[in-house]
């Protein structure tokens, strides 16, 4: 249970941090962390299918797409 607490806390902290960072690349990494933790939580909630999908799509591919997009635009928030 403590573990879940920790994960949720980490996830929310990641989300907040992602909104604060000026460097978008950092934000995206934080976002990937959030997705990853979410996928772990899915697993805890007895949803292995979803966990897999979230890990592969949410955490990996989304992050890749974000990084590509940031590379093609601007890395720092004004």
């Amino acid at each position: 249970m403590i573990f879940v607490f920790l994960l949720v806390f980490l996830m929310l902290a990641g989300a907040i941090v992602a909104s604060i960072f000026k460097d978008l690349m950092n934000s995206v990494i934080a976002m990937a962390l959030v997705s990853l933790i979410a996928s772990i939580l899915f697993y805890f909630l007895q949803a292995p299918d979803v966990a897999m999908a979230e890990a592969s799509i949410g955490a990996a591919l989304t992050t890749a797409i974000f990084i590509i997009a940031i590379r093609r635009t601007k890395r720092h928030e004004e």
């Binding site: 994960l7 949720v8 992602a18 909104s19 978008l24 007895q46 949803a47 949410g58 797409i65 004004e78």
Partner: protein
């Protein structure tokens, strides 16, 4: 404490949704706003799964004999979430591609500067 432990998942998912909404409402960078949308998506997915969860349940897969169907978690939210994850990634990809093109035209991703269309 009991309240917290009962509702920790709810706190997690709605926390994520509200952080996402807050980002969308207040941040001015387009990429950040898209990140916020992603948070909302993830939060909603988590909420759906949380709703289907039974304390002490097992995944709804009869992978080995002897699993108690009574204790299986609800399969429907999982199916729904599979769908919504894909929908989310589609929207994100589209949004990011729009962001890339928008950057070509405006030279900025600041949403307060991208406002030629108004009134």
């Amino acid at each position: 404490m009991n309240f917290l432990s009962n509702n920790i998942y709810y706190i997690g998912c709605f926390g994520l949704i509200f952080i996402g909404l807050y980002i969308v409402l207040t941040k001015k960078n387009l990429i950040k706003v898209i990140i916020g949308i992603n948070f909302i998506d993830t939060g909603v997915n988590l909420f759906l799964i949380t709703i289907g969860y039974i304390r002490g349940g097992t995944a709804p897969i009869f992978s080995r004999p002897g699993l108690n169907p009574e204790r299986m978690v609800d399969p429907i939210p999982q199916a729904l979430v599979l769908t919504t994850i894909v929908i989310g990634v589609s929207v994100l990809a589209l949004a990011l591609s729009l962001a890339i093109r928008l950057y070509h035209h405006y030279g900025t991703l600041n949403l307060r500067k991208i406002r030629e269309l108004k009134w």
